[in-house]
C-alpha cells in the first residue's frame, strides 16, 4: 500500500550530500580547516628541522643543536595546541551534522501521509531507520574528522615536499596508488563479505526476534527443538560470512604496512641515488623517509574508515529517500481556514482505493446534520474505518466530494480540518510521557485545569489520582501498568481536551469487557452531546440509539436509517442484527478440497 512514495527530485550524490551537512556549519568548518592547516603546517616542520639537524650532526657540526632542539619542541607544543583546537571543532562539526540530519529526517517523516506508514510495519521501519542513522553516525564521528584531517595533512605535506624536491615527492606519493589498489582489491572483498554477513545476521536476528517473541506459541506447539535447529542453521551461515569478512579486515593493517615499507625502501633507494649525484642533500632524503612514514600512517588510517564510509553511504541513501519523498497530502496554497465548525458532514458519491485497482469504497453518499449521532455498521472489511480515514483526510479520495460545513475538505487548511475532528481509536495509543502531557496532546495550550476537568468527565480522574505521581505519572514501558480500559479512558479524556466539533470513535470499546465498557460509554455519551459523532461498533447495541445507522457491506452503503426503521425494513441490517442470536445455516464450510 505505498501510494505515497511520491516523486524524487534530482539530488547530488549521496556522499556529497552527507558532506553537505558538514558544510551547513560554515563557521565551524572554516575555523576547523584553518586550525587544521596551521597545525599540520607547523607539525610538518618537524621532519624538516629534524632532517636538517641530523644533516649538520653528520657533518660533525653541533653548533645549532640547541636551536634545532628548541625549535622542534616549540613545533611540538604549538602544533599540538593547534591540532587540539581543530580536533574539538571537528568533533562539534560531526555531532552538529548528525543533529541536523536527524532533525531533517524527523521533519520529513512528519509530513508523510499514512499511505507511507501503511507500507511498513512500525517495528520494521523503526529498526531500519535507527540502524541506518547509526551507520551515518559512525561515519560522522570517526570518518568525517579522519577524512578532513587526512586531506589537510596530505595537502600541506605535499606543498612542503614539492618545495624540497619534485622527484622525491612523486616517489613518496607512489603510496597513494598502491594503497588505493589495496583498498580496491581487499576492500571490495571485505565489503561483499560484510554485506553478505549483514544480510545473514539480519535473518538470524529476525528469526531470533520472531521465535523469542513467539516463545509462548513455541511452547504451545512444543516446537523448541525445531526452532533451535533452524536458529543454529541460520547462525552457522552467518558465521561463515562473518569469518571471511573479519579475517580480511584484519589483514588490511599488515597489508598497508607492507605497502608503506615498500614505499620507504623506494624512497631510500631513489633518494640515495639522487644524493650521490648531488640532486638532493642527504638530510632531505632523511626528511623524505620521514614523510613517507607519515604518508603511510595517513593511508593506513584512511583505509580503516573505508568500510564505515561505504556502509554510511548505503544507510544515508535510504534516509535521503525518506527525506526526499514529497508529501502527497498537503494544504493547498489558498486553503480556507476553518476556526470552528457546526459539524455538517456530506459524502457525495465517494469512490476510494488504497491501492489503485483495488477499490474499497463505491459511490458512498450520505448527509449528516450538525449534532447527529451516526452509527457505522457492517462486517469486517466493509469499509467503516476507511470512511473515517477519509473524513480526517488521512487519504485523498478518487472521485466524489467530502464536505465539512459545506467546504470541500481538500480546500480546507489541513491543520484546521483535523483540529475540528477528535478521534478515539480501537487500540488506545499513549505516549511514554506524563499523563498531563498525554491529555494536553489533544490541544496545544490547554491548561492543567482544563485537562483535569476533561479527565473527570472521562471517569479517569479517580484512578489517575491514585497513581504514585498523579497527573505527573510517566507512562513508560514497564513502570506503570494501566489496564486497557484505563488507557482507553485517557484517550477519551484527550479527545475531550481537543474540543472537537466532530467526534470519531473507531471501535473504542471492543477490547474491554462489559462493565468497563459501561464506564467508558458513560464518558462517551457526555462527549457526544451537542457534537456530530461517528461511531463504529461490532456490538450493535452500542449504536442502536444513533440518529442514523449507515450499514455497509463490501464498500457499498446498503441501508441508512434509525434502528427501528432498519429492523422494520427487514433488510441487511436486520439480518446482521439477528445473526447475533441465531445460528444460520452456512454453506461456506465444506469438506476438504
Amino acid at each position: 500500500m505505498s501510494n505515497a512514495s511520491g516523486t524524487e527530485r534530482r539530488r547530488p550524490g549521496t556522499f556529497a550530500r552527507l558532506l553537505g551537512y558538514v558544510a551547513r556549519q560554515p563557521i565551524l568548518l572554516g575555523a576547523s580547516v584553518v586550525f587544521l592547516v596551521l597545525g599540520t603546517v607547523v607539525l610538518a616542520f618537524q621532519p624538516l628541522l629534524f632532517g636538517r639537524a641530523v644533516d649538520e650532526f653528520a657533518d660533525g657540526d653541533a653548533g645549532n643543536a640547541t636551536r634545532y632542539g628548541l625549535a622542534i619542541v616549540a613545533v611540538a607544543v604549538v602544533g599540538g595546541l593547534l591540532t587540539y583546537v581543530a580536533n574539538r571543532q571537528l568533533a562539534a562539526l560531526a555531532q552538529g551534522g548528525m543533529e541536523l540530519m536527524r532533525n531533517d529526517l524527523f521533519e520529513a517523516m512528519q509530513e508523510l501521509s499514512l499511505g507511507f506508514y501503511d507500507a511498513e510495519a512500525p517495528g520494521d521501519l523503526n529498526a531500519r531507520v535507527t540502524s541506518d542513522i547509526e551507520a551515518v553516525n559512525q561515519f560522522f564521528t570517526t570518518a568525517v574528522p579522519r577524512i578532513i584531517t587526512t586531506a589537510m595533512t596530505v595537502v600541506t605535506m605535499l606543498i612542503i615536499m614539492l618545495s624540497l624536491d619534485l622527484t622525491m615527492s612523486v616517489v613518496v606519493l607512489l603510496i597513494v596508488p598502491m594503497s588505493l589498489g589495496l583498498i580496491v582489491v581487499l576492500g571490495r572483498r571485505i565489503q561483499a563479505d560484510a554485506a553478505a554477513y549483514q544480510q545473514l545476521i539480519g535473518e538470524v536476528n529476525g528469526y531470533a526476534e520472531e521465535v523469542v517473541q513467539g516463545q509462548r506459541t513455541v511452547r504451545t506447539y512444543a516446537t523448541e527443538a525445531e526452532t533451535l535447529a533452524r536458529l543454529v542453521e541460520l547462525s552457522e551461515q552467518a558465521r561463515e560470512a562473518d569469518r571471511s569478512a573479519q579475517f580480511r579486515s584484519y589483514l588490511m593493517q599488515p597489508a598497508s604496512r607492507l605497502v608503506n615499507n615498500l614505499d620507504i625502501a623506494l624512497v631510500g633507494l631513489i633518494g640515495g641515488t639522487r644524493a650521490l649525484t648531488g640532486a638532493v642533500s642527504l638530510g632531505d632524503v632523511v626528511s623524505f623517509v620521514g614523510y613517507s612514514q607519515q604518508f603511510g600512517g595517513q593511508a593506513m588510517q584512511l583505509s580503516q574508515v573505508v568500510t564505515q564510509t561505504l556502509s554510511a553511504i548505503a544507510g544515508a541513501r535510504r534516509v535521503f529517500t525518506i527525506i526526499d519523498t514529497e508529501p502527497d497530502l498537503a494544504s493547498s496554497e489558498d486553503a480556507t481556514p476553518l476556526p470552528s465548525a457546526d459539524g455538517k458532514v456530506d459524502f457525495d458519491n465517494v469512490d476510494f482505493s488504497y491501492v489503485p485497482g483495488k477499490q474499497i469504497l463505491f459511490d458512498n453518499d450520505f448527509h449528516v446534520a450538525p449534532g447527529q449521532f451516526i452509527g457505522l455498521v457492517g462486517p469486517t472489511g466493509a469499509g467503516k474505518s476507511t470512511i473515517i480515514n477519509l473524513l480526517t483526510r488521512f487519504y485523498d479520495i478518487e472521485s466524489g466530494t467530502i464536505r465539512l460545513d459545506d467546504h470541500d475538505i481538500t480546500e480546507l487548511e489541513l491543520d484546521d480540518l483535523r483540529h475540528r475532528c477528535g478521534v478515539v481509536l480501537q487500540v488506545p495509543y499513549l505516549f511514554s510521557e506524563s499523563i498531563m502531557y498525554n491529555l494536553r496532546y489533544g490541544r496545544e495550550g490547554a491548561t492543567d485545569a482544563e485537562c483535569i476537568e476533561a479527565a473527570k468527565s472521562a471517569n479517569a480522574h479517580g484512578f489517575i489520582t491514585r497513581l504514585p505521581d498523579g497527573y505527573d505519572t510517566v507512562l513508560s514501558e514497564g513502570a506503570v501498568s494501566l489496564s486497557q480500559g484505563q488507557r482507553q479512558l485517557l484517550t477519551i479524556a484527550r479527545a475531550i481536551v481537543s474540543e472537537p466539533d466532530v467526534l470519531v470513535l473507531d471501535e473504542a470499546t471492543s477490547s474491554v469487557d462489559t462493565r468497563t465498557e459501561r464506564r467508558i460509554q458513560a464518558a462517551i455519551d457526555r462527549l457526544m452531546e451537542d457534537r456530530t459523532s461517528f461511531v463504529i461498533a461490532h456490538r450493535l447495541a452500542t449504536v442502536r440509539h444513533a440518529d442514523q445507522i449507515i450499514a455497509l457491506d463490501r464498500g457499498r452503503i446498503q441501508e441508512i436509517g434509525s434502528h427501528d426503521e432498519l429492523i422494520a425494513a427487514r433488510g441487511f441490517y436486520h439480518d446482521l442484527y439477528m445473526e447475533q442470536f441465531t445460528r444460520q445455516e452456512s454453506s461456506d464450510v465444506s469438506g476438504p478440497g
Binding site: A62, A65, T66, G69, L70, A71, I72, V73, A76, G80, Y84, N87, A91, A92, G96, R102, F106, Q110, A121, P122, N126, T130, A208, E209, V211, V212, Q213, T217, R219, Y221, A222, L228, V232, S235, R239, D242, Q246, Y250, P254, A255, R257, L258, N261, I264, G272, L282, V285, V286, G290, G442, E444, S483, T514, H538, A541, Q580, S586, D588, S590, G593
Partner: protein, 611 residues
C-alpha cells in the same frame, strides 16, 4: 583489568581446540611484534649504512630485507587474523545457540518476568559486542605489552643515553591516558541512554502516527524530537571533546621528545662523527629513536582504545550469564509419564493459582481461587467473565504453562505436573487473541503444528495442502488466502506484518485446527472478526471438533451461548457452571452480561418469535 579476567573466563569455557587456536595466535602475535620492532632498525640501516654512507647497493639490500620481513609479517598476521576470526565467530555462534536453548526452557511465568526485548538484546547486540571485543583483545590488545617492552629494551640496548627521555615520555603518556580514558566509558553510556530516549520518540511517532496526525501535533512532536536530539548532541559531544585531547597530546609528546633528544645529544653525535668513534651515538640512531618512540606510543593507544571495549565485553558477559543462571520455574519430573493418545477429559480440582514474583514466590493475591469443574471428552466448555476475572490464567494451566499454587489440574486423570510436557502439549492447540504467526507461507503457518517431529508426537500424520486448506476454511481464512496471487504459498512476512489483526487471528486459528488436537483452546480468538463471521466459524468448529474437547474463552455472550457448558468466572472464583438456559434462569451476573450485550432480553425474544 577485570575485563581481561572476563576474557580469560570466557576462554576457559571454550573447547580445547579453541584454546589451542588462541595460544597459537598469541605465538603469532609475538612474531608480529618482533617484526614490527625490527622494521625501524632496518630503516635506520638504510639511512646510516646506505644513504649517509652513499652506498645504494646497501639501500637495495636492506630495503629488500625490509620488504621480505613485511611479507612475512603479512603472512603471520594473516594466520593470526584467521585464528582470531575463527575463535570469535565460533564464540558468537555458541553464545547464540546456548542462549536460545536456555530461552526454550523458560516457562510462561519466566517469560512474563524477563522482558522479551532484553532477551533479544542478549541474543543480538550483546553477542555482537562480545565478538568484536574478543577479536580486538585477541589480535590487538595482546600486542601492546610486547611492543612496549620491546621498544624500551631496544632503545636501552642501542642508545642508553636516550632511554631516560623515552621513560619520561612513557610515564607522561600513561598519566594522560589514565586521566582521560576511564571517564569516557560512563560518558559514552550517558550518550547511549540519551540516544535510546531519542529512539523512543522516534518509535512512538511511527507507532502512533494516526494519533499524531489526528490531533495534528506534528509541531509538538518535532519540538520534542529536537529537544532530545540536542541532548544527544551534547552528550555525544562531551566524550568526543575529551578524546580530542589524545592525539595532539601524544604527538606533541612524541615530537617534543625528539626535540629534547636533538637538544641534549646533538654534540655527542657530532663529536662521534668527527672522531669516528663507533660507540658514540650515530646520526641514524636519532631517527631510530623517533621510530621506537612512535612504536612505544602505539600500544598505549591500543590499550586506550580496546579497554573500553573490554568493559563492554564484561558488561555483556554478565548480562548473558544472568540469563543463563535463571532457573526455569517449570521443570518436567524425571519420571514423567507419557499419557499416549489423550481422550481429552479435563478436570480442575480446587485450583488456586497466584502468579510468582521476581524471586519466584507466589504473590499474595491469587488470580484463581478454589476453581473446580470438569470438561468431559468431546464437550465444548465456555469460560465467561469480566476482564481480570482469570479466564486466560485458567486455560493456561491445562498445557501447564503455569503451575497451580494449590489444588490439581488433571488431564485424562493425570496431574499435569506428572506428565511428559512435550507429549501433553503436542496434543493441545491454543489459539490466542494476540495471534502470533511466523514468517514463511500461509501453508507453513497452518501446518506448523503438524510438521516433522510435532506430527509424530501428536499421533497425527503430516499436514498436507488439502488439510491445510480445510483448516483454513473452518477458520474462515480460506477467502483471504485464496485471494493471494500465490494462494497458500503466498508469503507471510516476519510476525505477520502483512496481515491485519483479524487475518492473523484466523490464520492462527487455522493452525490450531490443522494440528488436530485432542484438546482445542480458544482464547478470545475471534475478537477482531465481526459477529456473522464468528458465528460461521463457530458452527464449522462444532463439526470439525466433534468428539474432541474444546475450551473457549469469550467476551461475547453470543459465543458462550453455543457451548455445552459455561463456566462463569467472577473475580477469580467460579460463580456458576451450567448451560445458557440454566444460567439465564438462575445467575444474575449472567443475565446482566447478556442484557448489556444484547439489549433487552424480552425484546429479543419477541424478535426471534417474529416470522
Amino acid at each position: 583489568m577485570s575485563g581481561i579476567r572476563a576474557f580469560f573466563r570466557v576462554l576457559s569455557y571454550a573447547p580445547r581446540s579453541e584454546q589451542r587456536n588462541f595460544l597459537l595466535a598469541q605465538f603469532g602475535v609475538v612474531v608480529m611484534v618482533a617484526i614490527q620492532l625490527m622494521i625501524p632498525q632496518l630503516v635506520q640501516r638504510i639511512i646510516d649504512e646506505g644513504i649517509l654512507a652513499s652506498d645504494t647497493d646497501r639501500v637495495v639490500e636492506v630495503g629488500f630485507q625490509m620488504i621480505l620481513w613485511s611479507v612475512l609479517n603479512l603472512i603471520v598476521a594473516g594466520g593470526v587474523a584467521y585464528l582470531t576470526a575463527l575463535t570469535a565467530t565460533n564464540l558468537a555462534h555458541s553464545l547464540r545457540r546456548l542462549l536460545y536453548e536456555k530461552v526454550t526452557t523458560f516457562s510462561h511465568g519466566d517469560l512474563d518476568r524477563l522482558s522479551t526485548a532484553e532477551l533479544l538484546v542478549r541474543l543480538t547486540s550483546d553477542v555482537n559486542i562480545m565478538k568484536t571485543a574478543f577479536m580486538q583483545t585477541m589480535f590487538m590488545l595482546f600486542q601492546a605489552p610486547w611492543l612496549l617492552v620491546g621498544a624500551v629494551v631496544l632503545v636501552w640496548l642501542q642508545s642508553p643515553s636516550l632511554v631516560w627521555i623515552m621513560a619520561a615520555v612513557m610515564v607522561v603518556t600513561v598519566i594522560v591516558v589514565l586521566a582521560i580514558a576511564p571517564a569516557l566509558g560512563p560518558l559514552y553510556a550517558r550518550a547511549q541512554a540519551a540516544l535510546d530516549r531519542l529512539n523512543t520518540v522516534f518509535y512512538e511517532n511511527i507507532a502512533g502516527v494516526r494519533v499524531v496526525k489526528a490531533f495534528n501535533r506534528t509541531e509538538l512532536e518535532a519540538d520534542r524530537f529536537a529537544e532530545r536530539n540536542h541532548e544527544v548532541y551534547q552528550r555525544q559531544l562531551t566524550p568526543a571533546l575529551r578524546s580530542a585531547l589524545f592525539q595532539p597530546v601524544l604527538f606533541g609528546l612524541l615530537y617534543g621528545a625528539v626535540g629534547v633528544a636533538v637538544l641534549t645529544s646533538g654534540s655527542d653525535v657530532a663529536n662521534g662523527v668527527l672522531t669516528g668513534d663507533p660507540d658514540a651515538l650515530q646520526p641514524g640512531e636519532l631517527t631510530t629513536f623517533f621510530n621506537y618512540l612512535l612504536t612505544a606510543m602505539i600500544p598505549i593507544m591500543i590499550v586506550a582504545f580496546v579497554l573500553p571495549e573490554l568493559g563492554r565485553f564484561e558488561a555483556s558477559l554478565s548480562r548473558i550469564v544472568e540469563v543463563m543462571r535463571t532457573e526455569p520455574d517449570i521443570v518436567e519430573p524425571a519420571d514423567a509419564i507419557d499419557p499416549g493418545e489423550l481422550t481429552g477429559r479435563i478436570e480442575f480440582r480446587s485450583v488456586t493459582m497466584a502468579y510468582l514474583d521476581a524471586e519466584q514466590r507466589a504473590l499474595p493475591t491469587p488470580v484463581l481461587r478454589d476453581v473446580s469443574f470438569v470438561a468431559e471428552p468431546g464437550e465444548t466448555v465456555a469460560i465467561l467473565g469480566q476482564t481480570g476475572s482469570g479466564k486466560t490464567t485458567l486455560i493456561s494451566l491445562v498445557p501447564r504453562f503455569y503451575d497451580v499454587t494449590d489444588g490439581q489440574v488433571l488431564v485424562d486423570g493425570h496431574d499435569v505436573r506428572s506428565l511428559d510436557l512435550t507429549a501433553l502439549r503436542s496434543q493441545i492447540s491454543l489459539a490466542e487473541q494476540q495471534a502470533t504467526v511466523f514468517a514463511g507461507t500461509f501453508y507453513t503457518n497452518i501446518a506448523y503444528g503438524r510438521a516433522y517431529g510435532r506430527a509424530e508426537r501428536s499421533h497425527e500424520p503430516l499436514c498436507d495442502y488439502q488439510q491445510a486448506e480445510h483448516a483454513a476454511r473452518v477458520a474462515d481464512a480460506h477467502g483471504f488466502i485464496s485471494a493471494q496471487l500465490a494462494g497458500y504459498d503466498g508469503a507471510v512476512t516476519e510476525s505477520g506484518n502483512n496481515l491485519s489483526g483479524g487475518q492473523r487471528q484466523r490464520l492462527s486459528l487455522a493452525r490450531a485446527i490443522a494440528a488436530r488436537p485432542r484438546i482445542l483452546i480458544l482464547d478470545d480468538t475471534t475478537s477482531a472478526v465481526d459477529v456473522a463471521t464468528e458465528a460461521r466459524i463457530q458452527q464449522a468448529l462444532d463439526v470439525e471438533m466433534a468428539g474432541r474437547t474444546v475450551l473457549i474463552v469469550a467476551q461475547r455472550i453470543t459465543t458462550a451461548m453455543r457451548a455445552d457448558k459455561i463456566v462463569l468466572l467472577d473475580d477469580g472464583t467460579v460463580s456458576d457452571v451450567g448451560s445458557h438456559t440454566e444460567l439465564l434462569d438462575r445467575s444474575e451476573l449472567y443475565r446482566e452480561i447478556a442484557e448489556s450485550q444484547l439489549g433487552s432480553l424480552d425484546e429479543i425474544a419477541d424478535l426471534l418469535e417474529a416470522p
